[in-house]
């Protein structure tokens, strides 16, 4: 029997060049470990990325890898999946790459439901170009290009994905491998475009931006780990989310002896689009951050449909010599 795979089997000989303390290290480790756990075949695994800090990812994965151009990774990955639907494709992008220059391609890869895992490392900043505000930066972000603070209203990655008709939407935290790894496994099992927003700490340009809900000490109160079929509870089960049927909004309720019975807490249904919308739009700070698989509602993947609807399902059944002679042909001599 072969030795069981370890994270090391998915590491390359390349020196990792992210800043010390960058959240990308933790994600890299988690992905390598996850691939080992699921016994992924490196020969059939491809990491495709755009441009940015996160997009250096493929160089460090012992699999096939394609570091493409800024924002366009989804288009490359779509062409690759058409050419070889058997490949397991992991797309690595960031908030600038995926939501600014590449917003269009992200929209289309999601609505087409091309089978791949899309990991969007959100650090709310442009790291590789030295710290400008990004499309996910909160208003007032001071950066080299916005010394007086940014004014743009930010895009919410998961809400964007839902709007694009994505059928798998999940969230995780860079350093929380315990919860991130199952999310990545679920994403890989999903046949279609699986969108995973990973909160990633840019240690140099946007340090601890997500500390409000990432900090270990307060995590129980600030994180809501959703699970299909289970009530939306947090704070060690002492609090939960309840639907206000008058306002069609979620509200926090105390659960248990001093509050409402647990039966009144909303049960997570990952196939419910309306609930997914409520969850991804929960105001930051006021509410705990929903993490885990927020929405999962499978449909035929693009690559399946592409070849199913192809006139000959990709088989070469005709000859050019015959095709040339279709229609009106006449002879001379």
């Amino acid at each position: 029997m072969n030795k069981p795979l370890t994270a090391k089997d998915f590491a390359t000989d390349q020196e990792v060049r992210w800043c010390p303390g960058c959240g990308d290290y933790a994600i890299l480790k988690c992905v390598q470990k996850t691939l080992a756990d699921i016994e992924a075949n490196p020969d059939k695994t491809v990491f495709v990325s755009g441009i940015g800090c996160s997009s250096r990812f493929p160089y460090y994965m012992n699999a096939y890898g394609f570091h493409t151009i800024h924002g366009r990774a989804p288009a490359f990955a779509t062409g690759l999946k058409i050419a070889n639907p058997e490949l397991d494709i992991w797309l690595v992008t960031g908030d600038g790459d995926g939501l600014s220059i590449g917003g269009n391609h992200l929209l289309h890869v999601l609505r087409r439901n091309v089978d791949m895992q899309i990991m969007l490392f959100n650090n709310e900043i442009y790291g590789l170009t030295k710290g400008q505000f990004s499309p996910t930066s909160r208003p007032g972000t001071r950066s080299p290009s916005t010394p007086a603070g940014s004014i743009d209203s930010p895009v919410n990655p998961c809400a964007f994905a839902l709007g694009a008709n994505a059928r798998f939407i999940a969230r995780g935290i860079d350093t929380d491998a315990k919860n991130l790894s199952p999310v990545l496994k679920a994403a890989r099992e999903f046949k279609g475009a699986a969108f995973v927003e990973i909160f990633q700490n840019c240690i140099v340009y946007n340090k601890d931006r997500f500390e409000d809900f990432v900090a270990k000490k307060t995590a129980a109160d600030t994180q809501l780990h959703v699970e299909h079929g289970k009530p939306l509870l947090f704070a060690k089960g002492e609090k939960g989310l309840k639907l206000n049927t008058q306002t069609l909004t979620l509200e926090i309720v105390d659960v248990g002896e001093t509050g409402v019975p647990v039966e009144e807490v909303l049960v997570h249904d990952e196939t419910n689009l309306a609930l997914a919308n409520l969850l991804v739009h929960l105001p930051m700070g006021e509410f705990p951050m929903p993490l885990g698989v927020i929405y999962r509602n499978p449909a035929q993947s693009f690559d399946d449909a592409f070849w199913q609807h192809h006139p000959t399902q990709g088989k070469r059944t005709g000859k050019v010599a015959d095709a040339l002679r279709k229609g009106s042909v006449w002879k001379k001599g």
């Binding site: 000989d13 699999a63 096939y64 151009i69 288009a75 779509t78 050419a83 042909v329 006449w330």
Partner: protein
């Protein structure tokens, strides 16, 4: 793996079949004679010989009048009659322009002859105008003395108003220089189809068949092939549509034959043109190019993955290919031009032949992605159906103005091969050559065509697929049994010594995992490298690789004329037909002119400089402001006389013959 057996245009060998031309009418014209022999009257009497006889017919009407169908069926009939021909449709840019307006006029021009025909003709000899707007738009194109067949029913005040015509042109004297035949085509059509019970609007729709019937009589053509075709065309329609249209066809034919006007309607029979033995079909450039890509896939035994985005005039390639699934073609309509290029590269990375296509503005958007294909050494074909620019420019008009873009238009030193198709049929071979080159050298290749070639059609000698050598991919290496990871990398990047093409390693192959990307890579291992000497070496390698294409392409040949002399006319792309005819005419006049037509623009054939240096002067007609002229100066340090046309219209033969005379010392005076 050498270049394929060169396929030359099959219509070169001249030879008089004897029965080439019979004129039975009193109205006879020549299309391609130089203008100084074309004056009214004298032109009719001009050299009518079987060798150079031809007629240019233009059909024009409203977008909804079925003019394209009328024209294409007449072309089909011309093909079956054995004449040579060249057609060019002239669509309005508007999709459904208001009825009767000048901007809603659709036209179809055909030049047919008992000799080799190389263009759709300079000026129409016959115009069939189905409404006043069609007359107004097309009258300036006509020869003086041309025959105009008018649909008299459409000449009323309402239609004059729609076309902004102040007074009935039949009464103002503006048609005095022409032979005009008025027929109430609408009335005649309605009368003919009445027994078939069509609605009035359906009945009116039959008038293109009526006109076709009349024109078939004028050219002494058999109606049966059209009838057979109509049976297929209307098979799924209510039966009265077929019977009504056929009744109109017969009625038009009978009218021309028997009506009292018949003495006025000329009849001319253009006989067979000398062509090489073989099978022929009519084909447009867009269709030939699509079939050529499919053929390349077949020769390489790889899937063609064509990724496009709608743009005029390139979309027709996407349409054709989307119907060639059984030939190993898959098409993907991407969200934009950039995505189309990127998806094509993704497909090539995955082991398919990635192809993308557009026109200038779309190509501009693809540029960054093309640079990545160069950097990662992946094969790819980029088709540019050129149109007038800059910016949106003239979307439906033709130009050759993206040559700089193809040869020079990328950031950094990013050379790539460029090939230009010279005729509709040549698009087939050029597509195969482009793919073969892309796979041999592992590089993106530009394939240039243009709006004229894409839509123009003519007889095409069907190639024998057995004449083409298979296209072989550079084989992937075996995974080396070694603990040193560099051994695997070096095997993956071990380039062929002659072509400098690397092995084509695609994800999924066992034991060959590696990473590629747009960051400069080590010349041996492919690892990221910012090393100064390595970047120098890689830049030189990319240049040498493209230069090495010249080792695999045929030497430049002289198409016609002397090997040495005072003047050579050099062209590239779609100007071929006009230049060929102009040089032929010039040589028939006794001027000693050579023709050289370029197919590979980057790199240029190795013997080109020596070959062109045998002439005192080089005349270079091109549909831009002098881009190929710049290229020849840059690459070969040759100076040329530029003949630039950027009107959105192809060259007229006469424009080139004029320039030939201008540039031949003594010839101009002699002509005068």
């Amino acid at each position: 793996m050498g270049p394929p057996k060169a396929r030359q245009p099959a219509r070169k060998s001249a030879g008089n079949s004897g029965d080439a031309l019979v004129f039975t009418g009193r109205f006879v014209m020549l299309a391609d004679l130089p203008p100084n022999e074309c004056e009214t009257g004298s032109r009719l009497m001009a050299k009518i010989t079987p060798e150079n006889s031809s007629v240019v017919v233009r059909f024009a009407g409203d977008s909804g009048d079925g003019v394209q169908l009328l024209g294409s069926q007449f072309a089909e009939s011309t093909a079956l009659a054995g004449s040579d021909f060249s057609t060019f449709p002239d669509f309005p840019a508007e999709i459904r322009a208001p009825v009767g307006t000048t901007f809603g006029v659709s036209a179809f021009q055909i030049n047919l002859g008992a000799r080799r025909i190389s263009t759709a003709g300079d000026q129409p000899d016959v115009l069939v105008a189905l409404n006043p707007a069609a007359l107004k738009v097309n009258l300036p194109l006509l020869q003086k003395g041309a025959l105009i067949v008018l649909n008299a029913d459409a000449f009323n005040d309402r239609n004059f108003a729609k076309a902004h015509i102040a007074a009935d042109p039949r009464k103002t004297g503006e048609l005095d220089d022409y032979q005009v035949i008025e027929i109430g085509i609408s009335t005649q059509t309605l009368e003919a189809v009445k027994p078939h019970g069509l609605s009035k609007s359906d009945a009116e729709q039959c008038k293109n068949f009526w006109a076709l019937g009349a024109v078939l009589w004028m050219f002494g053509r058999d109606r049966q092939p059209i009838i057979d075709w109509a049976h297929k065309k209307f098979a799924k329609k209510p039966p009265e549509i077929l019977t009504g249209n056929l009744a109109a066809l017969d009625a038009g034919h009978a009218y021309a034959e028997t009506a009292e006007l018949s003495a006025e309607i000329p009849q001319f029979t253009i006989g067979e043109a000398p062509m090489e033995k073989g099978e022929y079909r009519s084909i447009t450039g867009a269709e030939a190019l699509s079939l050529g890509l499919a053929a390349a896939g077949e020769l390489a035994d790889r899937q063609i993955v064509f990724c496009g985005y709608p743009i005029t005039p390139a979309s027709s390639i996407l349409h054709h290919l989307s119907r060639m699934g059984d030939l190993g073609v898959a098409t993907f309509q991407a969200e934009d031009e950039i995505a189309a290029a990127c998806a094509a590269i993704g497909a090539s990375y995955g082991g398919s032949i990635g192809v993308t296509s557009s026109s200038g503005p779309g190509i501009a958007l693809k540029t960054e992605a093309i640079g990545l294909a160069i950097a990662t050494e992946l094969p790819m074909v980029i088709v540019n159906s050129q149109r007038g620019g800059p910016s949106t420019g003239l979307p439906t008009k033709t130009e050759q103005s993206d040559l700089y873009q193809a040869v020079y238009g990328r950031n950094a030193d990013a050379p790539m091969p460029v090939i230009a198709a010279y005729s509709p049929g040549d698009c087939f071979d050029a597509a195969i050559e482009a793919t073969r080159t892309a796979m041999r050298h592992m590089t993106p290749v530009f394939l240039l065509t243009d709006g004229y070639i894409a839509n123009a059609a003519g007889p095409w000698a069907l190639p024998d697929m057995d004449d083409y050598e298979p296209i072989k991919a550079n084989p992937a290496p075996k995974a080396p049994q070694s603990d040193d990871p560099d051994d695997l990398k070096k095997a993956i990047w071990k380039r062929d010594e002659k072509s400098l093409g690397r092995p084509w390693v695609a994800p999924g192959m066992e034991g060959l995992t590696h990473r590629i990307g747009g960051i400069e890579k080590d010349i041996e291992t492919g690892d990221i490298s910012y090393d100064a000497a390595n970047h120098q070496a890689m830049s030189e390698l990319r240049a040498r690789k493209v230069a090495s294409v010249a080792d695999f392409i045929p030497d430049q040949t002289i198409e016609q004329g002397p090997e040495k002399g005072s003047l050579v006319v050099v062209g590239w792309g779609s100007t071929h037909g006009a230049i060929w005819r102009a040089v032929t005419v010039a040589n028939e006049e006794g001027l000693n002119v050579a023709q050289v037509h370029l197919r590979w623009l980057n790199p240029l054939p190795k013997n080109l400089k020596a070959l062109l240096s045998n002439y005192d002067r080089i005349l270079l007609p091109e549909m831009n402001m002098g881009q190929c002229a710049t290229l020849l100066r840059d690459k070969l340090e040759l100076d040329v006389v530029k003949l630039n046309k950027v009107s959105g219209q192809p060259f007229k033969i006469a424009e080139i013959t004029d320039a030939i005379r201008e540039n031949l010392p003594g010839a101009k005076q002699a002509a005068e």
